[in-house]
Amino acid sequence: MGELASDIRRIAREMFDGKRIDLLVGFEKGSDGYRSRPVFIESAEGADRLTWDATCSQNLAVYLPSLFRREPQKKGVESAPPRVAFVAKACDMRSLIALVKEKQAMRENLIIIGVPCTGVIDARKLEKVVMDRAGGAEVTELVDGEETICVHTADGRNLSLTREPLVQDACLDCQFSVPQGADVLIEGPGRPVGDNSGSLLKEFAELSETERWQKFQGEISRCIRCYACRQACPMCYCTECFAETNNPAWIGVTTELTDTMIFHIVRIFHQAGRCVECDACVRACPMGIDLRPFTKKIAADVRELFGFTPGFDLETPPPLVTFREDDQQGFVTEPRKG
């Protein structure tokens, strides 16, 4: 167990012992060697399940809205909203803040345990490298180091792999690897500030309009409409998604390309000013669909047009819920320019 993991366990135990929280959302070891998974801890004894390493990839903020969602209650016997602690990387933390801004939880009911992040391992990159180096073997154990990752495979081999090429793309772009404004900040190294100036977007923008459309269609044509992208996204918390209503049926329910394209276009557009570029959608996709050129374009547009980066101070309202006379409107009047 790493130092950060024992710090997290200690803090969790103290919080339960001090009766400051009802629930803690963190990570535990997964069922295969190269994955961790979210876990809900409800007592000090449970804290021993908590872990922390480079495989803690999910954005845990995805659980926040449902924890605070309330069914209609009888007057006078309302149950109190829970007090919840989250173990949070900087991206999880930003999603939590964005959700609080959207009134999905009360900030005072949250305790955010910030953990600096050196970049999480992309399970698919790892699988591919192990495939190339060791045939079909699967990873049974992974030990994270500063510059190398050691993996043990099912057929008994030990591989030492350079860490950086295994880090997921979202982390390579990351500019905020240390959570800002956490209630408890665990000490540890963060990642050097990444370059998010958009080489991916430039590449995409250099394509002709037809090529961009083809690229979009090509990616989306592999969609099986399992909604994993939507379900893994902290900001996709609508209790009723337009893609599934049948009265009215805005779009068809099948994998007809026009329907899947509209689903993705609308989902991604709804992320403007809210998406923290954590790539939860990309990670969750079982088909390996690369949504990044599209999600990152929306985030870059919001930065450029409104000077806004989501998930920081609670005071600034997200740009799409406010109106200013000097708001940019070129994207409406001259859409082809952007």
């Binding site: 069922s31 998974r37 979210p38 049974t140 099912a154 057929d155 909604y227 893994a232 329910v253 099948t254």
Partner: protein, 341 residues
């Protein structure tokens, strides 16, 4: 002819010979991350057998995710053309092939013949590829399968030894006819190849830890209201990955796609993990919580299927384990219930 050897260099010739008559579907690269799906291949170079498994199971070739059932124009109905063309699927893992036998029951048993599924199945030859390198998430031996099993397949292919020959074993009449048809490319299987095959089969099975699931159905049946359901499904995101990737899940929805008075009645995959799956027109939802939805998935596979088909509907292919965004491992769920006092 029951067993025959093919030199690896002749695989191209075999694929070419098959393609004279029918398209060949096999695991082939899909997307930039090294994943594979079943799609038409032209030569052995397109075939990618190194993967533990394809992203999606083989079921979609027989039970497509979107399928037109009939057409209508006003009140006039018309039939769609049934898919009667032959099809050869190469490189199906034994877990996927075995699942086909359950789909055969669902779409062909009990007097309810589904012509769309049946026609495809009838005209297809399924060539399974034995599995020498099961993945960490594979568990076929825990649910009655085997990495060298041929249930549901017409043929099982395995590596016959270090010389790169492939051993083809017929597992059905269709498989025998296939070997006869292409006899010119094959050599008789020698004793050495058969021995090598046995050794490989037992080595492959030993690479997986088999869970003891004896008595699981009774434990599950007695634990419908167990708090374990809630405890084990708290982190479920409610997406459809486990069911859509599953080779035996077969739930579907039927909808009409209309443009004016004309339209198509379409069948498409649906998932018990979706909150709207059981939503009634009245607004009532008998499975409003994810614990109830996950319970349905597990009970259908490991209890109800035992009653209706005499077997669990899980082949241990491991896709739901591998692709679950939160690593909610069905093996953990099964073990937890099995271990109940």
């Amino acid at each position: 002819m029951d067993k025959a050897l093919l030199q690896k260099k002749d695989l191209d010739a075999l694929l070419a010979a098959i393609r004279m008559r029918a398209p060949v579907y096999a695991p082939a690269r899909d997307g930039g991350d090294g994943g594979t799906v079943f799609r038409p291949v032209e030569s052995a170079a397109d075939v990618c057998l190194g993967q533990v498994n394809t992203r999606l199971s083989v079921k979609g070739l027989f039970f497509p995710q979107r399928e037109s059932l009939m057409k209508f124009s006003g009140s006039a109905l018309s039939e769609v053309t049934l898919p009667t063309d032959s099809l050869v699927v190469f490189g199906v893992r034994p877990c996927d092939a075995r699942s086909l036998t359950w789909l055969d029951t669902v779409f062909g048993g009990g007097g309810h013949e589904d012509p769309y599924f049946q026609e495809r199945r009838k005209s297809a030859v399924v060539i399974a590829m034995a599995c020498d390198q099961p993945g960490a998430s594979c568990f076929c031996t825990s649910v009655g399968g085997s990495p060298y099993g041929s249930d549901g397949a017409d043929m099982l292919v395995s590596q016959a030894g270090a010389d790169g020959a492939l051993l083809f074993e017929a597992a059905s009449e269709k498989g025998r006819a296939f070997l006869e048809e292409h006899a010119g490319l094959f050599a008789p299987a020698n004793a050495q190849a058969r021995e090598a095959r046995e050794a490989r089969a037992s080595a492959a099975a030993k690479k997986m830890e088999a869970l003891d699931l004896t008595g699981l159905k009774e434990k599950l049946d007695a634990a419908l209201d167990s708090p374990l359901w809630d405890a084990l499904t708290k982190t479920c995101l409610g997406c459809g990955v486990c069911t859509y990737l599953c080779p035996s899940c077969h739930c579907f929805d039927i909808s009409d796609e209309k443009s004016g008075a004309d339209g198509v009645r379409v069948r498409s995959w649906d998932s018990c993990q979706y909150a709207r799956f059981t939503l009634h027109a009245s607004g009532h939802n008998p499975r409003p919580l994810k614990k109830a939805r996950m319970r349905q998935r597990v009970m259908h596979k490991f209890s109800y299927a035992q009653e209706t088909a005499g077997t669990a509907f899980c082949s241990g292919c491991g896709r739901c384990v591998r692709a679950c965004p939160v690593n909610l491992d069905i093996r953990g769920i099964l073990t937890a219930f099995k271990d109940l006092p």
